[in-house]
């Protein structure tokens, strides 16, 4: 009856051997290719350092001006502009300016990387059901696997610093833009696509002339989600050496500093709300052609 009482599991010995083998082979891999990978990411690192320094070195009134201008370009809404500038002013006033700039730097770079990598993958996914069925489970894993789990190999490979932090953020933040690009393209009206085909449009002409423009609202929702998720990773990224608002939050957790944690946490929330509202308004403006009494 032993069989029913205890689950027939692998003995401790073989299990340990398996784990050891995996660890050893990965260590071997990281010893072999770690430096090459670091060299590969070096330009990215330089860019991130430069961008962060630029944001911190730029006089704060200019940054406020730029933020106001970006909010205006994105939303054409004076309330949002005033709100954004005010929020940044308060953040600065409470002594979180530098951390906020560092966070902005990594969020911006992460978003650019996610867009640059995610949209092509989304387009690829929309092209065939087969590719979709391969990529979808990968995205599921990226979104659901606890971030700490993939921090281990990332840190083993690249150590602690900005690049592994960026990778961790991107792994978590890229799925929505891939998914929504794919979805947006697949939702393009079949009648419109057929018309384009009937007039002799080739794949490229259909993609850039019809599919991508009509999928833009969805793609934009993906960008918005990607930014939000990147912000959610700020604290975890700070565990592996990314500067920014996450660092004081982490310090607050270990020392039970309620006020410090709250202030920096709220600063992250403020950033999230500003990014979200501005990009949503921009996404809405992209759909202007849908206005009018008659359905498309």
């Amino acid at each position: 009856m032993d069989f029913f009482d205890e689950f027939p599991s692998l003995g401790r010995g073989p299990l340990r051997d398996i784990k050891k083998a995996i660890d050893a082979s990965f260590k071997g891999f990281s010893r072999e290719y770690g430096e090459a990978l670091e060299a590969f990411f070096y330009p990215l690192l330089k860019f991130m350092v430069w961008f962060e320094k630029l944001l911190i070195a730029t006089p704060w009134p200019i940054i406020l001006l730029i933020i106001g201008a970006l909010a205006w370009v994105g939303s054409r809404n004076i309330k949002l502009v005033v709100g954004s500038v005010l929020a940044f002013g308060v953040i600065g006033f409470f002594g979180m300016w530098e951390d906020t700039m560092a966070t902005m730097a990594i969020i911006s770079v992460a978003t650019i990387v996610c867009i640059g990598v995610g949209i092509p993958f989304g387009i690829l996914m929309a092209r065939s059901d087969r590719i979709q069925s391969i990529i979808t489970p990968v995205l599921d894993v990226m979104q659901t696997i606890p971030s700490f789990v993939y921090l281990i190999p990332v840190v083993m490979l690249l150590g602690i610093g900005k690049v592994p932090g960026l990778l961790a953020v991107c792994i978590y933040a890229i799925p929505p833009i891939v998914r929504l690009t794919n979805l947006g393209i697949r939702l393009v009206d079949a009648d419109v696509m057929e018309a384009a085909t009937a007039f002799g449009a080739n794949y490229k002409q259909r993609l850039w002339g019809v599919q991508v423009p009509l999928a833009l609202p969805n793609i934009f929702a993906g960008v918005n989600q990607t930014i939000m998720m990147a912000l959610a990773m700020v604290v975890i990224a700070s565990m592996i050496g990314v500067k920014g608002l996450g660092v004081p939050v982490l310090r607050a957790i270990s020392n039970q500093y309620l006020a410090l944690g709250l202030m920096n946490g709220l600063a992250i929330v403020a950033l999230a709300i500003i990014f979200d509202r501005v990009s949503q308004q921009y996404g809405k403006r992209l759909q202007k052609h849908r206005e009018g009494g008659h359905g498309v």
């Binding site: 009206d189 009648d191 419109v192 057929e194 018309a195 384009a196 085909t197 009937a198 007039f199 002799g200 449009a201 080739n202 002409q205 002339g209 019809v210 423009p213 009509l214 052609h289 849908r290 206005e291 009018g292 009494g293 008659h294 359905g295 498309v296």
Partner: protein, 349 residues
Amino acid sequence: MVSDIKVSIKNLYKIFGPNPESVLGEAKAGMSKADLLEQHGHVLGLKDVNIDIQARGIQVIMGLSGSGKSTLIRHINRLIEPTAGEIIIDGQDVLAMSDEELLNFRRFKASMVFQKFGLLPHRTVQDNAAYGLTIQGMDKDEAIEKSSYWVKRVGLAGFENHYPAQLSGGMQQRVGLARALATDAEILLMDEAFSALDPLIRTDMQDVLLDLQEELHKTIIFITHDLDEALRIGDDIAILRDGAVIQQGSPQEIVLNPADDYVRDFIKDINRARVLEVSSVMDSKKPRSGVKVDKEMVIEEALQIATANDYKPLIVTEEGKAVGSVQFDAMISAIARPEKDAERNPEYR
């Protein structure tokens, strides 16, 4: 009309299902649509379709929904791949074209108008009309200049910068028509182009099309489920049922000699006076006096003339020469709705 075949569809079969080739033999042997579905799980879309389409005329293909007419028109520019058969256009088999040839065929030779318009919602009327030209590779300014003529021709001057969503259905279809005409293609495929429009607008659009055709003489293939529309604009009509052509002929031939009960059912509610010509009811007597009418005049008009002339027989002429006469009561009998048994009154057939 001089015989000048532009599009020739030969032995075209289309079977939908997981493995169409496997059941092609059965379909060719004449298995019915229902049996094919029941025994093999394949849907017979088109069954041995043979249609010769005259150049510079309007060929109507009509049938009820599910008859395969939309499938058929999509074979002509190969939006749907056939299971077997040939479509010869100007001596070239469309179904044997390479990808490159097919793209050029679609760009330059055949343009299409859709039931649901298929306009690009993010582009203005102007840009939509120019779409075909920009796909051809034409410079954008030139394309807009060229297509703006057609935007005006279909009556949309002043709406160039509107988006499709801001226009009514009829106006959207005008954009669709302008887009199709702008490419200068010789063949115009119209897939239930006016079916989504309300009746008044539909008649209006038919007039627009007929007016344009007077001048352009394109080869138009027009799909519809509406017999009145078919009779009104068609030079020749092919009737489809369950994917097979059951009758092809001029509107007059179809009304006079419906091939079977299906066609008879179709034509029972139409206005026969507007379709039948006096030649179909004339006799060979040649009265010395009377008002002359051409033998291709429809009975509706001839009746008006006869009524105005005390119901006297009219002289029927062909190219000005008298060839017979037509009696008032013969015309009246001809436009009466026939009994189920069309043989009953052979005199008027």
